[in-house]
């Protein structure tokens, strides 16, 4: 009987130690910025969900389009209705890998600059992208930051000629996520 308990204990330990490889955030922040002659447009989404697998170096993000908040209500309405068509394409997501995972020592505090490569899906269109990222490890928590640019026409988002001075062709995207170890329920 003792033996079985020991076996069970070892198994549960094994399960715990492996689960610590996966990290999660439910309130990651994604910001985008459009710089155009007439106006600058900024939107924030504080409800981005992301998983990070530190062993395989895999990372995945999902952002609800409707959760992007703008300073002007009309911008938010047009963003959802005319540009992103959020009823048809409610989510944007990214799935990729850290290409130079070996640079990072997840058990040691520090800041590492890495490259993330993967598929970004916006407005129903998937494109392979590569972006620099900064991984900061401190006290068992992982903080990831990234900044990159995308072209709206790559994602089949059309800007009418009447607003070319209001909306930029190139959008700058900033990602800021604070991950916690995933706790199994």
């Amino acid at each position: 009987m003792k033996k079985q308990i020991v076996t069970l204990f070892i198994i549960s330990l094994f399960a715990l130690s492996t689960s610590a490889q996966t990290y999660i955030t439910r309130n990651g922040r994604v910001t985008f910025f459009s710089k155009a002659p007439i106006e600058n447009i900024e939107a924030n989404n504080n409800e981005v969900t992301s998983f990070l697998d530190t062993q395989k170096g895999e990372v995945a993000f999902v952002a609800l389009i409707k959760s992007f908040k703008f300073q002007k209500a009309l911008m938010e309405e047009h963003f959802n209705e005319n540009y992103m068509e959020s009823n048809t394409f409610p989510k944007a997501n990214f799935k990729g890998t850290i290409t130079d995972l070996s640079k990072i020592n997840f058990s040691k505090d520090g800041t590492y600059t890495v490259t993330v490569k993967g598929d970004l899906t916006i407005h129903g269109i998937t494109k392979n992208i590569e972006a620099p990222a900064t991984i900061n490890i401190s006290g068992g928590k992982i903080n990831a930051n990234s900044k990159f640019n995308i072209k709206v026409k790559d994602y089949n988002i059309k800007i009418p000629t009447t607003v070319v001075n209001n909306v930029s062709e190139t959008i700058s995207i900033t990602v800021d996520c604070k991950y916690d170890p995933l706790k199994k329920g």
Partner: protein, 304 residues
């Protein structure tokens, strides 16, 4: 012995299951996470209509909090009929207008004032969104708004308007609407117009049923229709029901509404109970509304 075997088998299964979970790829985990999240979140339906007016009357849309909407509306003379034709440049010689200011106090409450040429009428209203169409945690099939409006006629005619009470009309409307698809939105507008001392031979309380909707033609344009039907029991004698058809064209901060209608009034109490024009007799007139929004107040939902 059997018991031991059972425990060993069970623990083996547990190990396999926990191992299997740990090797599940994270995009699958993300999907599961989102499914759970979708059920805990209420997503409100937005942009059922391009602006807060369907054509003459209200749509279920509200001006956003802290936003001022300046509305300039024109109705020209009748295209056909006795006052139309080539001589009157198909009605363009005669124009009436309404200048209005709408303001969003919160995301569910807006107020507005206006002044129309027709009977030199001043109007003021409140629009309160009681229910908002939504999906997810809170599933609500319709948006319901209550709109009380006061209309004050300032036209000088001592023979008709013997007291101030003759000049005041109250309209109470419920707007019940639903965005069925990305393109199609419909609404019904049960309405009662209360006149303190009517100057026509009609009753004090006129009951009407409005129906309207829009079908998008492209991302930025839509076809709209609106009809107000006075219930037979309380119809004002000699008046006609208002039918309006039009297009919405949205260009950034502006919404242009172009339409044909048989009413030159733009205040609820006037066009529902006091319209004389008839589509059958060619009393069709061209009109437009221009809406321009300005961000004047601080947005309440700034979240960063």
């Amino acid at each position: 012995m059997r018991k031991k075997l059972l425990i060993i088998t069970a623990s083996f299964f547990i190990a396999v299951i926990s191992f299997a979970q740990d090797t599940t790829d994270i995009s699958k985990m993300l999907e599961d996470e989102l499914k759970a999240n979708d059920q805990n979140k209420t997503v409100y339906t937005t942009a059922a209509f391009k602006t807060t007016r369907l054509i003459d009357g209200h749509s279920i849309e509200n001006t956003a909090a802290g936003v001022l909407d300046v509305k300039i509306s024109h109705r020209f003379g009748t295209i056909g009929g006795a006052n139309g034709g080539v001589y009157n440049f198909f009605g363009l010689d005669n124009a009436t207008m309404r200048l209005g200011f709408d303001y969003g106090l919160t995301h569910t409450l807006m107020i507005g004032i206006g002044r129309s040429t027709s009977l030199k009428t001043f109007d003021a209203f409140i629009k309160w969104k009681i229910l908002r169409q939504s999906t997810g945690k809170r599933n609500m099939p319709v948006t319901v708004s209550y709109v009380p409006t006061i209309g004050i006629i300032s036209f000088r005619d001592a023979a008709v308007y013997k007291s101030f009470s003759n000049r005041i009309n109250f309209t109470h409307q419920l707007l019940i609407g639903r965005k069925f698809t990305e393109g199609l939105s419909l609404q019904v507008m049960p309405t009662v117009v209360h006149r303190n001392q009517p100057v026509d031979n009609g009753p004090n309380d006129v009951f009407a049923a409005g129906i309207g909707g829009r079908q998008k033609l492209s991302k930025r344009t839509s076809f709209n229709a609106e009809y107000y039907y006075q219930l037979p029991g309380s119809k004002v004698p000699g008046t006609t029901n208002v039918l309006s058809l039009g297009f919405d064209i949205e260009t950034g901060g502006h919404v242009f509404q172009l339409h044909v209608t048989n009413s030159s009034s733009m205040t609820e109490s006037n066009f529902i109970t006091g319209n004389k024009g008839s589509w059958g007799k060619g009393d069709i007139l061209f009109g437009f509304n221009i809406s321009r929004v300005f961000n004047v107040g601080k947005k309440h939902t700034k979240e960063w």
